[in-house]
């Protein structure tokens, strides 16, 4: 935050687009600003409405060189824009250097990316030293605007000022949360919690849910809770499945008919790929869950009430599949949300339940609440 932590003392703010760049159609500018504000709106109690006349809390303008605020722009490149922290008059306003070539895509300077950053200043955020953060001061031309997500650092910063969507830090009954829950943030100990996907990663277990994941180390009781985008900005939220291939040190994640590969925090080049490159028929549109059997070098993919088996040595789908889950994993529910392997067991998750399956005995050895890994 800025020195003195300036912030808006109200949650409904007005904004006005004072003029337009000639680089883009007006509706493209309006849409970029609207999308940029909605990024912040999603994680705070703040709401925005547009006004086309009179005073507004946040005034947005395009200008070149000297433009009346004693901080002139500098021609093409270098400074793309600047904005003022919350307050009256010029404070809260965002200015964009119209000597840049503003674009909807990344062929020039993407207006949405810069607007999202500058409007972060308008709301009270200072620069972040975290290169993954939207509030990092240097423009990243490699950021895909369609996949832009606020980082953990951005969310923590803005929520330290305004709280989460349902909780304001100004509410005396509710102290501010040190760990920022986002919109519809799942609670680890919610008895009805279900998971989108689960994978191991270098000895830890990752439990994915919507835009977040819990990171559980077997050495610690408390799981960490993070935004997926804070570790892997290019990954989508709402994953379908994930598994770790320990021999390659890669985690594969699936959503819809695509899958991605990450090694530590690095997204691997050449992805996303179609799931059909793995050998699935075209009738398979998504994977429900996946797990790799580390010893046998086989990967199991669960789709509906069936499963496929992929041979990691031959890199091909095995003959004779799909088979019914219930035939080979008796006791496991018909359909699974997520699965991972640990201590020689497969742990299948379905809704709020978890089935510990012994592959050698071919039986379910325990049925557990699915969040018992969090010591709820």
């Amino acid at each position: 935050t800025f020195p003195g932590m300036p912030k808006w003392r109200k949650t409904h703010l007005t904004y006005r687009v004072m003029n337009y760049t000639l680089d883009l159609p007006r509706d493209a500018v309006d849409s970029a600003i609207e999308k940029a504000l909605s990024l912040w709106e999603e994680v705070t109690p703040l709401t925005f409405s547009r006004t086309d006349e009179g005073e507004a809390d946040i005034k947005i303008l395009f200008a070149v060189r000297d433009h009346g605020d004693f901080i002139p722009f500098d021609g093409p490149g270098k400074v793309l824009g600047h904005a003022y922290p919350p307050g009256p008059g010029i404070y809260g306003d965002a200015h964009f250097d119209d000597d840049e070539q503003w674009t909807r895509d990344t062929s020039g300077t993407n207006l949405f990316l810069v607007a999202a950053h500058e409007l972060g200043h308008s709301l009270g955020l200072f620069h972040s030293a975290d290169p993954r953060a939207l509030m990092y001061p240097v423009y990243n031309a490699h950021t895909d605007p369609a996949r832009l997500r606020l980082s953990q650092d951005d969310v923590a910063g803005i929520q330290s000022l305004y709280g989460s969507p349902s909780v304001s830090p100004d509410d005396p009954a509710v102290p501010p949360e040190p760990v920022p829950p986002g919109p519809e943030t799942p609670a680890a100990c919610d008895p009805n919690l279900s998971f989108d996907a689960i994978s191991t990663l270098r000895g830890e277990i990752l439990f994915f849910k919507d835009r977040h994941f819990w990171r559980k180390s077997l050495r610690t009781l408390e799981p960490g809770f993070y935004l997926i985008s804070s570790f892997w900005p290019s990954l989508p939220s709402g994953l379908d499945a994930a598994y770790e291939d320990t021999s390659k040190d890669i985690v594969f994640v699936f959503k819809g008919n695509q899958f991605w590969a990450v090694k530590g925090t690095e997204a691997q080049a050449g992805y996303p790929k179609s799931i059909h490159t793995l050998g699935f028929p075209s009738t398979v549109r998504k994977i429900d869950a996946a797990v790799s059997d580390k010893e046998k070098k086989k990967t199991y993919f669960f789709v509906g009430d069936k499963y496929w088996r992929f041979d990691e040595n031959s890199q091909s789908m095995e003959q004779g599949f799909p088979r019914l889950i219930v035939d080979d994993f008796p006791g496991v529910e018909l359909k699974v949300d997520a699965v991972f392997q640990e201590f020689g067991f497969f742990y299948f998750f379905r809704g709020s339940l978890q089935f510990e399956f012994d592959p050698d005995a071919r039986m379910v050895t325990r049925t557990l609440k699915n969040n018992n890994w969090f010591y709820c």
């Binding site: 003022y84 250097d97 620069h127 030293a129």
Partner: protein
């Protein structure tokens, strides 16, 4: 003005770096850039501060990574200090 092109280029880099540090890292305006001092001086301190903030290797030197980063497009709000 120097007739030697290399010297002129070096001078413009020095000016650029000085202005960058003044603008974004609150370097005092009367600081002479790159005057040799045993302790490195305020410019080296500010370079280090900048390198640390932007996640570069902290050398206090104008290496190519640091210069590249300084030339990248960025937000005009300073990274440190009061916003005036």
């Amino acid at each position: 003005y120097p007739l030697n092109g290399a010297a002129r280029k070096e001078g413009s880099t020095t000016d650029f770096v000085q202005q960058y540090l003044e603008r974004y890292y609150n370097l005092a305006k009367d600081t002479k850039a790159f005057v040799r001092r045993r302790d490195g001086g305020p410019v080296v301190d500010k370079l280090r501060e900048m390198q640390k903030f932007l996640g570069l290797e902290v050398t206090g030197k104008l290496d190519s990574d640091t210069l590249d980063m300084m030339h990248k497009p960025r937000c005009g709000v300073p990274d440190v200090g009061d916003f005036a």
